[in-house]
């Protein structure tokens, strides 16, 4: 009808139906990336609808019209076709039955007609015999004279059809009778009548006299024949009494069925006799012969009710020549058709049954069609309603989700959303081996602004800051407002940890820029940032958040407007650095230094096989200061020797303390700088310590860097040999980075190689590094050295290292450097399983 309109409607419907599906999935599975797409799809449907508002309604109406019309036409067509088929079937069947019936009746009629003909012929012959007698009657010109009696008697003797013969002369006197019988008066009257009528008028035939009244004479039918002379005058009358018994004998074997009958009728239709299966009935009711042409030759058949009963009969009539007798052979139509009726009634019943079944089927199918149509329509209505409901629900849900996941003030994610997003990012981060940094950012003195200038200004400030933050991070980073003046940033996919510091620095800077005209106020705030690095500072979001938060408070404590890594080792040195040089000797003397320990774990069974002692400076003003901020100074100023001695003795003290506590502490390794190593007194000092604290040399291990060997290999060899002699083991730290020549390493009494953390870090990213690590391990094993992997931060690395045959591992993944009390607990446990 209107295909264009129809197409538009279908397109709109399709897009509407597609929308909820594509929308619901990403939200459930937490893929925010598909959300914008979803919204696009959503907006597509209304756009189509609103663009051509009239078209859509019209199209819908047209479709429903087609549906309705389709149903009606289908039903009408089905009824029509079925009706036609039924009419045809009935027509053919009835026609066939009619034809069969006609044939049957025709056959029966032919049979009856031939029977009628035979009987008529037979009776005609009988009558002819009587006429022969009339010829014999006149003897010598006078009736009944001479030989007449003898001739008649002899003719009668051989004719069983006639019982008696009598002869009347012209004077109505009976001149002959074959037996002594009184003729009735009726007969005599009739004789007189015949004698007074010229032969031409009385016809060539004869007359039938009434039967005698005696019942015993019931079968006797007197027939009267005129006896004529040569001139055509009636000279006398011959009475021949027909014996109906003769006819019965002749015809009783004609089988016309149970209803068949042969009637012998007078010309006026009154019946002389009826012969049927029961026998002969004398004087049955008359039949109407008025319709039969008087001069009819041959048989005529009719189907009617000739006997005044309800039964229709097929009756065949045959008039007898030259005598007022008619033979009627009849049979009930019902009997003729009986077999056919049985067969046909069966066919009819079958047809009726089939018709009813078909009609019911059509009715049922039509009903079903109609019901289906109604269902379809109500379904469409329900669908439309549902679609509307779904649309409403979807927009409601979207709004709720927006509310739930976004901070309405700044348009940033809220805490919940941030945690979700961060978690999903970290899940991917575990596979990428890039660095992820989680930052907590707190505005300095924001509360004061809020309190003094009002929430309004505070909100404006937050919005401004939010915009700056958003502008300062990449699209891939996650920015959220956790509440109040607290923000969180997840920096994703960093190549270097140092990048985090750069971003943090930038954020501090942009936040610190003045904010102009916030409702008339020009404001400036600072930001304190805490940074936790994944995975070293935590394997999950919770841990990272806690550590970032802690680091942020560290920033606030450190003077605000700055950023702090949770891993203090990453924090850059500050201006306090300048006091180190002066302060360090006193720190050593005043025991401001403490030791942290990081366990080394045997990869085979994760048993703690050793500790590395790391020095920390518990600065009274600046808090804990890490070695990278003062070791270099100590080296430069020569205080490194004193520091080294302190560390060595502190190790011994610690060992003794644990031994006194009954702890089975593993050997402690400490770093020995090149300067120390070249100090000739080192072996003696160590020996003293061992003696002083009553320690086995094996309980100590020194770690040296390659650089320590470069300056003076000979002196270093000497010192190392002396230390080895004391029982100490020697490890080569940060191996792989420098220029180590294996040939000279071989000559050194080194028992352990420590693979530099940079190789371990890149194990999964760089196939080259993996190869290097593998070859270092196999090399070291060839040199009978143990291999320790440093900086292990993930399970993947452990797996790889274990596969490569590494002996021991050390890193944040197992334990970061911890103060003595924690270390003591770890020693108590004895193992550090990563799993």
């Amino acid at each position: 009808m209107r295909p264009a309109a129809l197409a538009v409607d279908e397109a709109a419907a399709a897009s509407i139906e597609a929308a909820p599906d594509s929308d619901a999935f990403p939200e459930r599975s937490g893929h925010p990336a598909s959300a914008p797409q979803t919204m696009l799809t959503f907006s597509a449907a209304p756009v189509t609808g609103s663009a051509k508002p009239g078209v859509r309604e019209r199209a819908a109406a047209a479709v429903s019209l087609i549906y309705r019309a389709g149903w009606r036409m289908l039903t009408a067509g089905m009824v029509l076709v079925t009706g036609l088929l039924l009419v045809m079937a009935w027509g053919v069947a009835l026609n066939r039955m009619e034809a069969e019936s006609r044939l049957l009746i025709e056959a029966a009629t032919r049979q009856q007609e031939s029977i009628a003909l035979v009987i008529a012929e037979n009776i005609a012959q009988v009558l002819d015999r009587a006429r022969l007698m009339t010829l014999a009657a006149p003897d010598g010109g006078a009736i009944g004279r001479g030989e007449t009696a003898r001739k008649l008697a002899s003719m009668l003797a051989v004719d069983s059809a006639f019982l008696r013969v009598g002869l009347y002369d012209q004077q109505r006197q009976r001149v002959f009778s074959s037996s002594v019988t009184e003729d009735s008066e009726d007969l005599k009257l009739l004789v007189g009548e015949m004698l007074s009528t010229p032969a031409a008028l009385s016809g060539q035939g004869g007359r039938i006299a009434p039967r005698a009244s005696d019942q015993e004479m019931a079968w006797q039918v007197p027939l009267l024949f005129p006896v004529t002379n040569g001139r055509g005058d009636v000279d006398g009358v011959l009475v021949a009494v027909l014996d109906l018994g003769y006819l019965l004998g002749l015809y009783r074997n004609i089988d016309l069925g149970s209803t068949g009958a042969v009637h012998v009728l007078r010309g006026d239709g009154s019946a002389l006799a009826e012969m049927g299966r029961a026998g002969l009935v004398v004087g049955p009711p008359p039949l109407d012969l008025g319709w039969l042409p008087s001069n009819n030759q041959g048989a005529v058949s009719r189907i009617d009710r000739p006997f005044g009963t309800n039964e229709r009969h097929v009756t065949s009539y045959h008039a007898i020549e030259r005598f007022p007798l008619v033979i009627a052979v009849s049979r009930e139509l019902g009997e003729i058709e009986a077999d056919r009726i049985i067969a046909h009634s069966w066919i009819r019943r079958l047809l009726i049954g089939v018709s009813i079944v078909i009609a019911l089927s059509v009715f049922w199918v039509a009903g079903n069609l109609r019901r289906q149509d109604q269902l379809l329509r109500s379904l469409r209505q329900a669908n439309a309603g549902n679609r509307q409901l779904i649309d409403e629900l979807e927009s409601e849900k979207k709004r709720a989700f927006q509310l739930a996941s976004h901070d309405p003030l700044c348009g940033l994610h809220n805490r919940r959303m941030f945690l979700e997003l961060a978690a999903s990012h970290l899940a991917r981060a575990k596979r990428s081996h890039k660095h992820y940094a989680l930052m907590y950012l707190d505005l300095d003195r924001f509360k004061g602004i809020n309190d003094t200038l009002g929430h309004h200004v505070g909100d404006l400030l937050l919005a401004t800051i939010s915009a700056r933050l958003r502008a300062s991070v990449r699209e891939s980073d996650v920015l959220a407002r956790l509440g109040g003046d607290e923000f969180a940033v997840l920096l994703t996919g960093l190549d270097r940890i140092e990048d985090a510091a750069e971003v943090a620095d930038k954020l501090v800077r942009v936040v610190g820029e003045p904010c102009h005209d916030l409702d008339g106020h020009d404001l400036q705030v600072g930001a304190s940032i805490g940074i936790a690095i994944f995975p070293r500072d935590g394997q999950d979001v919770d841990m990272l958040c806690r550590h970032a938060d802690a680091a942020m408070y560290e920033s606030k404590r450190g003077g605000r407007g700055r950023f702090t890594f949770y891993d203090a080792a990453l924090n850059p040195a500050g201006e306090w650095q300048f006091g180190v040089e002066q302060r360090l000797p006193r720190a050593i003397a005043d025991s401001e230094l403490i030791l942290h320990f990081q366990p080394k774990v045997r990869i085979a069974d994760f048993r703690i096989t050793g500790l590395e002692a790391l020095v920390r400076w518990q600065h009274p003003e600046h808090g804990l200061i890490y070695p990278k901020d003062f070791i270099e100074i100590a080296e430069n100023t020569g205080q490194i020797v004193a520091l080294g001695k302190w560390v060595a003795e502190a190790c011994c003290r610690q060992l003794v303390a644990w031994r006194d506590e009954g702890l089975a502490a593993p050997p402690i390794a400490f770093n020995v700088s090149a300067r120390q190593l070249l100090d000739d007194h080192l072996p003696a000092y160590i020996a003293n310590l061992l003696q002083k604290y009553d320690l086995d040399g094996a309980m100590l291990e020194i770690e040296i860097t390659e650089t320590a060997l470069v300056d003076s290999i000979e002196r270093a060899v000497g010192a190392l040999a002396a230390l080895e002699a004391l029982g100490l083991r020697i490890a080569l730290d940060d191996f792989g980075n420098g220029f180590s020549n294996l040939s000279y390493i071989r000559s050194l009494p080194i028992s352990t190689l420590k693979i530099d953390r940079s190789f371990v870090n890149d194990l999964r990213n760089s196939p080259d590094d993996a190869v290097i690590v593998d070859s270092i391990i196999s090399l070291a094993h060839n040199l009978k050295m143990r291999v320790v992997a440093e900086g292990v931060e993930s399970l993947d690395q452990i797996v790889h290292l274990k596969t490569a045959g590494c002996d021991e591992i050390q890193g944040y993944f197992l334990s970061r450097p911890v103060p003595e009390p924690l270390m003591r607990e770890l020693i108590g446990v004895g193992t550090l399983s990563p799993l």
């Binding site: 022969l132 007698m133 010829l135 014999a136 009696a149 003898r150 001739k151 008697a153 002899s154 003719m155 009668l156 003797a157 051989v158 069983s160 059809a161 019982l163 008696r164 074959s178 037996s179 002594v180 019988t181 005696d214 019942q215 015993e216 004479m217 019931a218 079968w219 006797q220 014996d243 109906l244 018994g245 003769y246 019965l248 004998g249 009783r252 149970s258 009826e274 049927g276 299966r277 029961a278 026998g279 002969l280 009935v281 004398v282």
Partner: protein, 292 residues
Amino acid sequence: MSKLLSGTLLVAALFLPNLAYSTDCEDPRPLRFAQVPQKKADLLASQFQPLYQHLERVLGRRIEVIQAPSYSAVVEGLLLGNIDLADLGPAAYAMAKKRRANIVVFASFAGQQGVVFDTARGYHSVLVTRADKAFVTIDKLRGATVSLTDPASTSGALFPRREIARITGMPLERYFRRVSYAGSHDRAIEALQRGAVDAAFVSSTRIDEMIRSGQLRRDELRILWQSSLIPFDPFLYRGTLCKPLADKIRHAFLVDTEPLRPLFEALRRPGFNAVDDDTYRAIRDIYTEMNP
């Protein structure tokens, strides 16, 4: 026409050369014997074959058996002189006598106990219906169809007509809806068996005989009525037969009966009894009463 005439005359001249003239006794050759058609003609002929042969031997002439289509035909034949020796029914005898036929009754079959009926001294007219139909009394048959035998039959017409009128007070033709003549007792029973009629008046002798021969089962029919005793069928000859011939006939029927054994066996009769007109007096009276 003249050809037909001459042909007829010729034929007529060949038969009965001396009938009309002779007032003296007759000695017909062949002797013409007719029986009323109580049974089917072929059965009748085969059963009576011993009698025909016996008569031919004893009388020394051919016996011409005339098949009569009706009882009346035999009577008329006797009256006309076309039949010399006949086996009539009692009523037909009465009919013939009424019409002053010159006939001499001389024998009838001796009686014997039948399988159903007491037929030692005569037989009965019996009204029967089919046992499986609901016609249990004559009253129930009112308006039904009934079969008679022949208008001149004693048990199959005369007695029924008389007795039904007496019992029901109305003529047989009115009491029954439809009255048909079967022609013989056999055919009446057949019509009844086939259901062509509801009831039939037949001779008890025929019922006995048909049951004996297996044509009829004993429980097939229900007997509603039976008449008083009727004398057995009379054998008679025309009174104009010469005495020697008549005597020989009597002798053959009543004395020299040994060759008739097969006939007696077939009909279960002990033999012939000598009878005279008195035996049928009652019947003749009844007939006259019925046909004044």
